[in-house]
């Protein structure tokens, strides 16, 4: 047996410490890469070239930059305001209902392989988040930043959870093909991608139930958070009033 070589793990420790200390993630990741390369004895020049090669080969990850000009222009002409107004005109539209409807549509379409039908840049920022925020604002008036952030984060989470747990049902998706290839490489025959896709269904249903249950409770959560915020705000206002009253007395 070879003895345990833990040096390649030093990069993981750098990442955990770096994120915990809240250093800039770009810096943390680069330092983790440099230290890992150094720990296992890759020479510096080829390590830098390896950085460059991998960075270049991953350029398609930046393709969302092409979507932004369209979204930015539409926002300049009131897209988010329109989304809010549109939701306000629908009777019975609540944040939870909008997010739940989106979740179901997104998970089902992902299961059919329509992964690029939506996404964080295409749909969540310009449409889903403003609609979800708009529904609550419709009920309670102008919202504090923390409530808007909470709803926005839930909108982003809906997209992630729905697409992750829907996509593996679709048998032509990369993950399923990867699993199939792995089994074949390791000498396990007779498994079709279809079998793998079928076994993704129970977890996909569980994800649907768990997340819709959480969304159903979101409304109550938002109501409480708003009440708390108002209480705090009125308390602060009262304190400021007290302070200024005191100040006036002192000056008098």
């Amino acid at each position: 047996m070879t003895e345990l070589n833990l040096l390649p793990l030093v990069g993981i420790i750098v990442i955990i410490i770096g994120f915990a200390m809240r250093f800039n993630p770009l810096l943390v990741v680069s330092v983790a890469g440099l230290i890992t390369g150094w720990a296992v004895g890759i020479d510096f020049i080829s390590l830098i070239a390896n950085f460059g090669e991998k960075f270049m080969n991953a350029r398609q990850l930046a393709s969302f930059l092409l979507i932004l000009p369209v979204i930015a222009l539409l926002e300049r002409y009131g897209l988010q305001q329109r989304a809010k107004a549109w939701v306000a005109s629908i009777k019975g539209a609540t944040t939870a209902r909008i997010l739940s409807l989106y979740f179901v549509v997104r998970e089902c379409s992902a299961a059919l392989g329509l992964l690029s039908l939506a996404g964080q840049a295409q749909t969540v920022r310009p449409l889903l988040a403003p609609m979800a925020v708009g529904a609550t604002a419709n009920q309670y008036g102008d919202l504090p930043k923390e409530i808007k952030d909470l709803i926005g984060a839930h909108a982003a989470a809906c997209d992630n959870v729905a697409v992750f747990f829907g996509e593996d049902i679709f048998i032509a998706f990369g993950a399923v093909l990867l699993m199939d290839a792995f089994l074949q490489e390791n000498g396990i025959a007779g498994i079709e991608p279809l079998h793998i896709g079928l076994w993704a269904i129970p977890t996909a249903i569980a994800a649907l139930i768990v997340h819709l249950f959480r969304l159903a409770r979101l409304e109550t959560h938002i109501r409480k958070a708003i009440a708390e915020h108002r209480q705090k705000a009125s308390k602060n206002a009262a304190e400021t009033a007290d302070d200024s009253a005191q100040l006036r007395e002192e000056t008098v």
């Binding site: 990442i15 830098i48 460059g52 979204i71 930015a72 969540v124 952030d149 498994i191 793998i196 076994w199």
Partner: protein, 336 residues
């Protein structure tokens, strides 16, 4: 030139190289706009940050053709280090943007009505339709789309068409659209580059055999007779390793070859299809909980301008942990 190589290269109108060039030009336009922004607190360093990033797209492929792969990868690697330093030293920031009053936007919104949604909805719709219908279409022997990157080509075409549509609907020109996008790109900031940085780190981990080290470490804690512990270790290991790598695909071969294959499939005769399907989903539970999955968790937080960059992750943790627990029980129940 042989016909075969003709088929492989330059046989598409919208090649991946052209898409990279396009992204590069968009970024370079933002660099010029940043330099023109006299009220920008960190004008030059922010411009340098985006210039280096844009260079990889504008000059990358030309550089490979001119000076070869090795030299190109080297300067890109150096550029990446400088990018990380600029971000790490907090030299990249938001600039100054002229925004219309909320009231003016409200008026525009009322005037334009639901037509405003058309270009936004066009992007996903056109992408899907083009992927399905135009994927194999040829014009005079040329593929319309790069055959290796059909979805990305379709997305690019969809963005172009949506840009024209939004020009027609709002009256704002494409140049204006690009200028406006600086506000969005700046608010995303360094997070826009994180996914590529992580792909880079994944590459280094592979070269450094980090996976093997984890596998050896994990093997120390396994008692090969305890079925439930093996299942739990595989599922939790998939989630944890995915959190570190930011990608369940990277964690999957390591954890499956290290734990599932020898102990569960060969040792206990588990059903492979159910095992790998549920195992991969356990990895996805990890994806929901890690900043390393930047394009799912950190980029949206920036896109939505959340105060807490980790709030999307925090919202996802209860769902992720519940599903991980369900996956463990489900796997234990069905694979034996």
């Amino acid at each position: 030139m042989t016909p075969v190589s003709h088929e492989q290269h330059a046989s598409a109108l919208l090649t991946i190289e052209n898409i990279y060039l396009l992204i590069g030009f968009v970024v370079m336009f933002l660099v010029v706009k940043t330099l023109q922004d006299k009220q920008h607190p960190k004008r030059f360093t922010t411009a340098l940050f985006w210039f280096l990033f844009g260079s990889v797209f504008v000059f990358g492929d030309a550089s490979i053709a001119l000076v070869g792969e090795q030299l190109t990868y080297l300067w890109v690697g150096v550029a990446v280090i400088i990018i990380a330093l600029l971000a790490g030293l907090n030299l990249v920031s938001m600039g100054h943007y002229e925004l219309p009053e909320e009231q003016a936007k409200q008026q525009d919104a009322e005037r334009l009505g639901n037509k405003l949604f058309i270009p936004a909805v066009m992007i996903p719709m056109v992408t899907v339709i083009c992927t399905l219908i135009l994927g194999d279409i040829k014009l005079a022997g040329w593929h319309l789309f790069d055959q290796q990157h059909v979805t990305l080509s379709a997305l690019t075409l969809a963005c172009g068409l949506a840009l024209l549509a939004s020009w027609k609907i709002t009256g704002g020109t494409p140049v204006r659209a690009l200028s406006e996008s600086r506000r969005l790109v700046d608010s995303i900031g360094w997070a826009a580059i994180l996914p590529q940085m992580l792909a880079m780190l994944g590459g280094v981990f592979i070269v450094a055999n980090t996976g093997t080290a984890i596998q050896e470490l994990v093997t120390l804690f396994i008692s090969p007779d305890n079925r439930f512990m093996l299942v739990a270790l595989y599922c939790i290991g998939m989630a944890l390793f995915t959190m570190v790598m930011g990608n369940a695909f990277a964690a999957f071969p390591v954890m499956t070859a290290g734990v599932a294959l020898p102990f569960l499939i060969q040792g206990h005769g588990a059903n492979p299809a159910a095992l790998v399907a549920i195992g991969m989903y356990s990895g996805y539970c990890g994806t929901l909980m890690t900043p390393m999955a930047a394009n799912f968790n950190i980029v949206p937080a920036a896109l939505l301008d959340l105060k807490d960059k980790y709030q999307v992750i925090k919202v996802q943790i209860p769902t992720a942990l519940t599903l991980l627990f369900i996956n463990i029980l489900l796997m234990y129940g069905v694979i034996f």
